[in-house]
Amino acid sequence: MATAQQPPDTRRGTSDSLLSPDFLRRLERLELVTRKALIGRMKGERRSRRRGQSVEFADYRDYTPGDDLRFLDWNIYGRLDRLFIKLFVEEEDLHFHILIDASKSMDFGTPTKLRFATQIAAALGFVGLIGQDRVVVHLLGEGITRSSRPLRGRRSFIELLEFLERVEPEAEGDLHRSLRQFALTYRIPGIALVLSDFLDKQGYEPALRYLAASPMEVHVVQVLAREELDPPLLGDLRLIDCEDGEELPVTISAPLLQRYRQRLRAFCGGIERWCLAREMSYMLATSDADVESVVFDHFRRIGLVK
């Protein structure tokens, strides 16, 4: 459990632009929640599904030979003349992976999608750090291009911020390769938060399928710019893909825009249905959305934080 302490020093400038001190103070009241079984390597402040040696009583079970006699409940034995072993809630740390799509397409919008993703990452990372969870941030480009050191504890927040501030968009993104690499590398259960626009021409399904097969509890946040949802485009244009440079001549008219919006809605709806079918949470956020409300409303609603 996070204890009420002073927020970390956020005067280093970088934090000013990512998260406001007031927001951080509010974040302190949150903690990450996971529905999946967790196997931490270190004792943490998290209740594990495994019965362990915390002080919090969880259950009783019949004594079987070989059990630690220290956990016999002698009071029960006195009353019922039967041997019961007291089970306690195991408390352990949580592996929290934040995967930020840093492909060039994320460097779009006002503010950029990447900026929004880093803000979300900073906020949830902060929640994880103060919850003594193990927070790792991965930048996804043509693979996992960079990962932060596993961070833990309030003091690591500055490092987290520094890492996030240094995030630069990569030339080209390969979501499939990145998530495959992640799934193969990290086999310990935990939480994986994916922040991406999912505008990958190879499709989102093969990529997300790696996460679905992993023991991670996966949360998907699709970040799109307002300009992508409602493009301010009209006329005879040559659309150029910022990542692969593909060109598409198109005469944009009101009906075409209408059709584009329908197609985009169908695309996002497809991701959502796909995710929900695999017990992943999904959220569509615009890059100009209020980070606080996203964290406090959406993530609370889907049970990532409480």
Partner: protein, 656 residues
Amino acid sequence: MFEFIGALTPWQWAAIGGAAFGIVLLYFLKLRREPQIVPSTLIWLKTTEDLHVNRPFRWLRANILLILQLLLVALLLLALLRPTVHGGAKGVARYVILIDTSASMGATDVSPNRLEYAKEKAIDEVVDGVMDSNDMAMVVAFNDTASVVASYTSDKDRLRRAIRSIALTHRSTDITPALQLVEPLANPDTVMIEGEEVQPEGAVRPVPATVVLYSDGGFTDVPEASLGDVDIVFRSVGQEDNNVGIAALAARENESKPGRIGLFVRVANVGQAAEHRRLQLLVEETPVGVEDLSVPAQSATSASFELTALRDALVEVRLDGEDALPFDNVAYLRLRPPQPVRVALVTAGNRWLEFALSTSEVKELAEVDVISPEQLQEGRVQSAFAAGQYNLVISDGIPLPESTEANTILFGVAPPNPKAARLVQVAHPVIIDTNSSHPLLQYVDLATLRIVKGFAIDAQAGAVPLARSTAGTIICEIPRGYYRDCVVGFRLLNEEGALNTDWPVRVSFPVFLMNALRAYGRAELTGIEASLRPGQPFHLDQRFVPRGASPVVLTPRGTKLPMTKTGTGYVFGATDLVGIYKVLNGEKLLATFTVSMLNQDESNIAVRHEAIIGGREIRSQEQRIVVRSELWPWAVLLAFAICLTEWYVYNRRVAI
């Protein structure tokens, strides 16, 4: 149904074609797409892929602006071509009612006759039928001429009165003058310049008119008529085609029996059945001969009568019996005493010439006045010369006054107009060539003529040389206004009164003078005066009318109409009806003339139900009287709508 009445010149076609080509060119030149960097073309690709797969006429949608622009040009082109459609909604309509008043319209196969039937039908169909209160109509009556009976008006009472006032004539049919009258309505912007039609620029075309033609179709087709946007509706009038009529009447003096006149009549049957009719000959309304004729169907037969030469009589041939066309059953001829030729011989004394003009043959033809040079100076003679009282003046070397109004034969003297010819004296000219085909020199042999002194004639252009000598033209005919002067380039006598030539003692000399009387004096041996045809004007010579009289003509209708004065007498033109016309001065009969139809085409009262006018085949009965509406305003309106659509599409991008 649809018709294009506008026409574009090749240059206008080229301009429009160029505009369309330019639009296409500009469209593709203009289509430089602006580059726009987007995060991903993924969704755009999916969007356009959908379209490629699902949308029919994708190419059309992609080039919608181009299509609209081309459509705009096409519509403007359509408007320029002025499409019209028959029927439909009409604006202010114009009608031209053409009514045939020719002889065949007098056929009584429909009651009371074709013309009256046509008139009532025109009133029923047009004036009281299709005409709205705003519509206008004009009425034109035509036979071989056309006249406007009522100009454009929407006053129906006036139109009815005008139509009912149209009277039958016995003239022939020719629709061309009527079409020429209508043509300005069709092509009002066309003017004739030096025989070519020219369209002045900027001319505005009027409302197209509908011509409703009421006729029995007895006119020849006029495929070359230019009708432009005038629409013709043909209403044929009449039912039957059975008719027998006198097609020709001629009289000739019987050469083998002097004093007898042969009369030849040709009777035509235009019907489908053979006819038996009786032909009567009447002289001064007294029957003098009858012949029963059998005329096969669609054929003609001839009859002849012989008359004793009558000095003055009205001859009438009449077909008995009833048929549809009564006035072709009669024809007239007038026998008159021959009018003597009035000859003035101006001479100082020439017994050869006087003798040659005093023969019995000459006396039968001519009255010769011998005038001396002294008498020629008298005012009485001069005014007689100037008034044209002589038909022929023969001058024996005496110059004639310039005011001479007569043909002249001039021996060795310049014509009355001295500028017309110059005489150059020559000695012993020998005639080497004569124009023996000329009426003056027929049967005149001048080959061995001997001449002591002569003149070579240097005549103005237009003169006809009749005889050439070794020294030049020696006999020459020189036109002078209405008259002709025959200049003979030598005198008959010399100054001493002796013969200058041996011509007066030759046979050819009186033959020449007889030729002169006939050719220049218009002398005729018999006085057969053919009947006039309906519409032909009648001329009455001044000399038959007493001074100060104002002759009037009593027509077969019984009306009296005045004659028009002309330079040489009086003329009467209203000879529309067959019959006897009497020229009266008060109660005194001055002259009589007749008008006969003698026109087999008009006797043919067969009704024709189709005709070709202005390259169009028009059929009677099938056509309704419809108004042709012009569609160009709709084309322009549509073009305007397309213009707006284009503006909307361009600004709103409503289409893909």
